[in-house]
């Protein structure tokens, strides 16, 4: 049968030579290879004790940011929800009352802010879309859960600890990313 393109290669099947048919040299060669691998650097690490460093561009779980005084940055503009290709973000805005000025930075704030981690593809577009530097992505994974409901993260779960009342935790949450940026 004539070939269509003339690009087909004819496979040459040589009969094996005597040494090849013995198989022993090949077996010894293979055994040498596996033996060499015994002394190579191990690819695995002891996980809970040792952790692999994240790459500086790693996009993990979302965090809602606060400013230095502990006020929420988010103004419920909805740009992140629009930018989200997976439509994982929903929010409800509310107006700030005068007594709430220490809680929210802008006049409008997100009364409800939910991210469905089952939908989220961790693309980071919300982070880029945010004009108020309110949402960014940390270096933690979404932990496992038993129900689907557990993967819909509410605002309380997403918010970063308050720098005024809970300085230590805030530093931890903040510091990891910055240390990494510095290392770069």
């Amino acid at each position: 049968m004539a070939s269509l393109t003339n690009r087909a290669k004819v496979l040459e099947q040589k009969p094996m030579s005597f040494m090849e048919r013995l198989y022993l040299p090949a077996i010894f060669k293979g055994m040498a290879i596996t033996f060499k691998h015994m002394f190579k650097k191990k690819a695995t690490i002891n996980y809970p004790e040792e952790k692999r460093p994240f790459s500086p561009v790693f996009r993990g779980l979302h965090v809602l940011n606060r400013d230095e005084e502990g006020r929420e940055n988010c103004t419920a503009c909805g740009l992140c929800a629009v930018a989200c290709p997976a439509e994982a973000i929903t929010m409800e805005g509310a107006e700030r009352k005068t007594s709430e000025e220490h809680l929210y930075r802008e006049e409008k704030y997100a009364a409800k802010y939910e991210i469905n981690m089952l939908r989220c593809i961790f693309c980071g577009l919300c982070e880029e879309a945010c004009p108020k530097d309110a949402i960014y992505m940390s270096e933690t994974f979404a932990p496992s859960n038993f129900t689907r409901k557990g993967f819909i993260y509410s605002k309380e779960e997403l918010l970063i600890p308050n720098p005024v009342t809970d300085k230590e935790k805030y530093d931890i949450a903040k510091g990891m990313r910055e240390a990494q940026l510095k290392n770069k």
């Binding site: 077996i27 055994m31 290879i33 596996t34 691998h37 650097k41």
Partner: protein, 354 residues
Amino acid sequence: MITMDLLAIDLAYGLEKLLLIGGIITVSLIVAMYTTYAERKVAAWMQDRRGPNRAGPFGLLQPVADGLKLFFKEEIIPLTSNKTLFVLGPALAMVTAMLTSAVIPWGSSINIFGRDVSLQIADVNIGILYVFGVVSMGVYGIMIGGWSSNNKFSLIAAVRGASQIISYELAMGLSLIALLMMTGSLSLKTIVQQQMEGGWNIIYQPLGFLIFLICVFAECNRTPFDLPEAENELNFGYHQEYSSMKLGLYLFSEYVNMFISSAVVSTLFFGGYDIPFVDEAALSLSLGANTVALLGFGALFAKILFFLFLFIWVRWTIPRFRYDQLMDLGWKKLIPLALANMLITALVILWLNK
């Protein structure tokens, strides 16, 4: 009075043998235990992983944990199985695995309380034939277990295993005949003593060793010949229906088999308890006979450990044979090779004697 004396000697003799048997069983069980650990560890290293390292320092308690897990698992006996035989199968596999250790000389004799205690349970003058007899019994553990599970995969695996073991027994026997023509004795102790004087048998019988080693791999159901337990074709092999410690016994007997066959190979071809490049007689004058005997045991143990490593090493290097390739290798390659080896050895022996 004479009978009393006889009885006394018999008692001490029996006690000594009992202790020896207990010791050897303990040692082989512990070695088998840690071979499972070594298997996982070496496999990990060869695949650039770390292997078990959680239970105890370096994961050394891993085999204990595995054993405990097996003990605490639920014991399931399939409803349609043949209950007696279902229980008998793993027991037979374990017993036949242990029985071979009786004729292996684990060292020369040790002098305790003025008695020469031979480190061999029974120095029968048909030692090798005994090994073959027990190995041929080993088929039943597999066959009974596979058949009584009443599962077609188990049955096919059992039949595969049995025919594999029987086929390779032939080549194994033939490859040894050449060796036996040289030594002129079937007693393993005599064979070791001859090697101490005249050099190891591997020098004179490299081809015989190779054939024997391949057959040992096949007899132990190890990769590349682990067809009876080919996971991807037969789910799990002849012990598919087994659970808990009965499964443990099957898996364990494989490792005991490996240990014992390593001991047989070292004894037959690598001088047994002979310490290489050392004259034992001269050494025992300076160090004392007991120390040398212990050193000899250490030498044998080192050889055994090397072969155990070889078993594992080969397992993680060479892929499994296809069944027709296995039979082809056994019947059409190894048996003619063994016969040729036998013929050449016979001719050389005749020519040297002339």
